[in-house]
């Protein structure tokens, strides 16, 4: 009974997701409690009276035993309450919803770079296996994967912004364009178009090029490597030989037949690199003063704003789990052998 088996697998999947999320909650909670920072001081500052200190400590529920604090935390999170950020004095969830679109914009642009460069590069490498294009692509991939992103970012700023004047500086738009477009989706290029502000749109797009390019380089390396190995696998198959014997053009064989057949596993690869791009934006955002989730978590961490750090980490974790789940489902949906 294939239907029933599906249902059981689906339930199993849900349980494992629930457990993963609970584990994530427990870990983030414990991190927040283990750090040697007094959360009360983070809230009230350094010079308040003993009374105020005690009041706030109680308000934060820090006088309760640890397990009760955890239960409270889980309960709050389930209701969408991640607490209040010390840094912004606003609910953490609100903050995250505000900054997340910036990260999404950056990661999506980086993914476009990764897919547009990574897949053709992988195909090329597979087709020319063992010859110089293959070696070149592998070396570039290795460099792209091993050079620290903050260094690459700073160098890119120095060269393309400071020296050559080809790219704009840090930030999502030039400073005096800030706040001119009211946020609707939070994705500034989209918002600028919605508002009909083409100049802001172009400015934002220019600002996107460097950080997205550099962040994208990471997924280029990963996507190219995976594409190469999938392709090599396909090129060995009999149907390829058959197609060639039938007199089909080489280009058609490779780009249509072989690539078509690796589309399914590639979907998983792309989804996974999307997740890691969302995570990997932390350093890129810091270098480029990009006000997204990465910068938010970094700033919160530096100012010991634990609610914000926990909320941010939880969201990143949840996105990771979500994309994993999605790629898993897509895989099952698209590839009959996986059922």
């Amino acid at each position: 009974m294939p239907g029933r088996r599906h249902a059981i697998r689906g339930a199993g999947l849900l349980v494992s997701v629930a457990l993963t999320v609970l584990g994530l909650l427990l870990v983030t909670f414990l991190i927040g409690r283990v750090v040697p920072i007094d959360p009360v001081i983070a809230v009230v500052g350094d010079r308040v009276s003993a009374d105020t200190y005690a009041r706030v400590r109680q308000e934060l529920g820090l006088d309760l035993p640890l397990w009760q604090q955890f239960l409270r935390y889980v309960g709050d999170v389930i209701q969408g309450d991640f607490g209040t950020s010390v840094l912004t004095s606003r609910p953490v969830l609100e903050d995250i919803l505000r900054v997340f679109p910036a990260t999404l914009e950056l990661a999506t642009a980086a993914l476009v770079v990764g897919v547009l460069l990574g897949i053709p590069a992988g195909v090329m490498a597979a087709v020319h296996r063992g010859r110089w294009p293959d070696h070149l692509i592998r070396v570039i991939g290795l460099i792209g994967h091993s050079i620290p992103i903050f260094w690459l970012g700073l160098m890119a700023l120095l060269v393309f912004y400071a020296r050559l004047d080809l790219a704009p500086g840090p930030g999502r738009v030039d400073v005096f364009y800030e706040g001119l477009v009211d946020p609707v989706t939070g994705v500034i290029t989209v918002d600028a178009l919605l508002a009909g502000e083409t100049d802001v749109f172009w400015n934002a797009l220019h600002h996107l090029v460097l950080p997205a390019g550099i962040l994208g380089l990471y997924s280029v390396a990963y996507i190219a490597r995976m594409t190469r190995s999938f392709m090599l696998d396909q090129l060995r198959q009999e149907y390829i030989t058959t197609a060639r014997v039938k007199g089909m053009s080489e280009a058609r064989v490779i780009w249509r037949h072989a690539l078509g057949n690796i589309a399914v596993p590639l979907t998983t690869v792309v989804a996974l690199s999307y997740a890691s791009l969302l995570e990997g934006s932390v350093l890129t955002e810091t270098v480029f003063a990009w006000p997204g989730l990465g910068l938010y978590i970094t700033n919160s961490l530096l100012s010991a704003d634990m609610n914000a750090v926990l909320g941010g980490t939880l969201v990143v974790g949840a996105v990771f789990i979500g994309l994993n789940l999605l790629s898993d489902l897509l895989y099952r949906l698209l590839d009959p052998r996986a059922r």
Binding site: P36, I41, L87, R90, D174, F176, G179
Partner: protein, 535 residues
């Protein structure tokens, strides 16, 4: 996009020599003439409410948006002048201050500013009892009695009563602090939720009468101010001030050199030294009331020995550090009152003398030297300073083990008195000498659960005599005598305390040379943008 923003955008673009339409030039050469753009690390701002602001960056914001009753002259701190107050008198017993409020001041909302607004603002700060409230409550004001003690007797007259007779300048300097910024009581009351005195509203909105109005605040991201065209003292020359949070000093320098920002606030010597040769950029140095020091916990029996305390004072290479690490970011200063304060002692008796330090350790019974741990913030210049101390102290027979950590971790440990030595900085809360005397030279109760926890308490330095003297100094009404009392206190602290005060901070600001009129005062709440213009 609303029409105002559209107009501003238009103005900004036109003045930059561009027109609307698909931008052909992606990179603009200069910032618009009517907009001041600043790069600054302002991630310490947690609120924009003058009743709650207790951070350096927040204090600077408050100074642009809110008028205060009185202010001091940034060039001569001893001169206090009326801002919202036209004049004032002090009663014979020194306990009643009566202010006459200037006529014709309007809030940003258009509401007229009256003595009731001033009274409400002070009462509000006391009743909310947040961080800076102690600046007012130290005069015996409580949430219960403040309506009685601070009141408007008519729309133009404000009465302020203290519980005891204090030095009048002490009271006045406290009233120049950010916490006494005047808020629009009508507006704030209309925004009140559950008796919060409009705190939720004022956290991220403005209700002042100052030269600038808050336009937008995104924590750790952007602070944008708009000129108040109707400012009673005259409208600012620029239309907007945009402040971007840029954490990296290297990035700040880049933006400044490219002309993408007009002012960079957090450059380190390695960034601003090369800029000195650039004629498009001007370096401004402003001494601030912040001291760099380290404390020795007296709960530790080794550190509690007077000779050991003194040995530390000879184990620091003040001049060497001033030339290298501080290089323009601070000057050698060893007394607890920063230069510019009444009675500040400008003698620096200690110099680096490892032989003498060794001798002192020997006298204390440690001929083979001692080992001590030092907690320090893992930021610059604190870390560099700690390493320099480690080096110079080693030659004096003191092995220093560094424990670097995040700032909040260090403070947590400090407040629990769990440190041995701890390097930190201390910023004055207001311009009166009592602010630092109260923390370096007074410790009313050395018990672990004491209510007051000044720096002396944190280092467990039990000093009933000095505490009494500090209390006496704040009540002395003769200014010359009072200054002398502080000098004596400073000498005693220099001689016997577990504090090794090393430097007074200098704020270094790099401005584009076409920027004029920015005022960099001795504290962050006396930095003003009001008169700024761009050529």
């Amino acid at each position: 996009m609303n029409t105002l923003a559209r107009r501003l955008a238009g103005a900004a673009l036109l003045s930059a020599g561009l027109s609307f339409g698909p931008a052909a030039t992606p990179v603009l050469a200069d910032t618009p003439k009517d907009t001041l753009v600043m790069a600054w690390q302002f991630d310490d701002i947690v609120t924009l409410d003058p009743g709650e602001i207790f951070e350096l960056s927040g204090a600077e914001y408050g100074a642009q948006v809110y008028d205060r009753l009185i202010r001091f002259d940034v060039n001569d701190v001893s001169k206090i002048y009326g801002q919202v107050a036209e004049s004032w008198t002090v009663s014979d017993d020194g306990k009643t201050f009566t202010f006459t409020i200037r006529d014709g001041i309007k809030f940003h909302s258009g509401n007229p500013l009256t003595a009731e607004d001033v009274a409400y603002s002070l009462q509000r700060a006391v009743k909310m009892n947040k961080g800076p409230a102690f600046i007012l409550t130290q005069f015996g004001l409580t949430p219960e009695n403040v309506d009685q003690k601070v009141r408007a007797t008519n729309p133009r007259t404000l009465v302020f009563e203290t519980d005891k007779t204090y030095a009048p300048t002490f009271v006045l300097y406290c009233l120049t602090a950010d916490v006494s910024g005047v808020v629009d009581s009508k507006l704030v009351k209309s925004k009140e939720v559950n008796g919060d005195f409009g705190a939720a509203f004022l956290k991220a909105n403005s209700a002042g009468s100052g030269p600038f109005v808050l336009r937008q605040w995104k924590a750790s991201e952007l602070l944008s101010l708009e000129a108040n065209a109707n400012y009673w003292g005259g409208a600012p020359a620029v239309k907007r001030v945009l402040i971007r949070h840029i954490a990296e000093p290297a990035t700040q320098r880049l933006l400044l050199e490219k002309g993408d920002v007009d002012v960079a606030r957090n450059l380190k010597p390695e960034q601003f030294e090369p800029l000195r040769g650039n004629d498009k950029i001007r370096i401004v140095q402003a001494p601030k009331g912040t001291l760099y020091y380290f404390g020795l916990n007296q709960k530790n029996e080794v550190l509690a020995k007077p000779d050991v305390r003194k040995a530390f004072k000879y184990a620091v290479d003040y001049d060497g550090m001033a030339k290298t690490i501080m290089n323009g970011l601070g000057t050698v200063h060893q007394a607890f009152l920063p230069k510019g304060f009444l009675g500040a002692l400008e003698e620096n008796p200690y110099t680096y003398d490892p032989a003498k330090a060794k001798e002192l350790l020997k006298q204390a019974g440690y001929p083979d030297g001692i080992t001590v741990t030092m907690d320090v913030r893992n930021t610059s210049p604190s870390m560099d300073m700690a390493q320099a101390i480690q080096g110079s102290a080693a030659a004096a027979g003191i092995t220093v083990k560094l424990l670097p950590a995040d700032g909040k971790q260090v403070v947590t440990k400090y407040r629990a008195r769990n440190h041995e030595a701890l390097l930190y900085q201390w910023g004055a809360d207001y311009q009166d000498p009592n602010t630092n005397a109260d923390t370096f030279a007074a410790n009313p109760d050395n018990a672990d659960d004491a209510k007051a926890k000044p720096l002396s308490w944190r280092n467990a330095w039990d000093i009933p005599e000095l505490t009494k003297k500090t209390a006496a100094a704040v009540e002395e009404r003769d200014t010359a005598k009072r200054a002398a009392m502080y000098q004596e206190l400073q000498r005693e602290v220099l001689e016997t305390s577990p504090f090794v005060i090393m430097f007074q901070q200098t704020e270094v600001i790099a401005e584009r040379s076409n920027v004029e009129g920015l005022v960099w005062g001795p504290s962050f709440d006396s930095n003003y943008y009001w008169k700024v213009s761009k050529k």
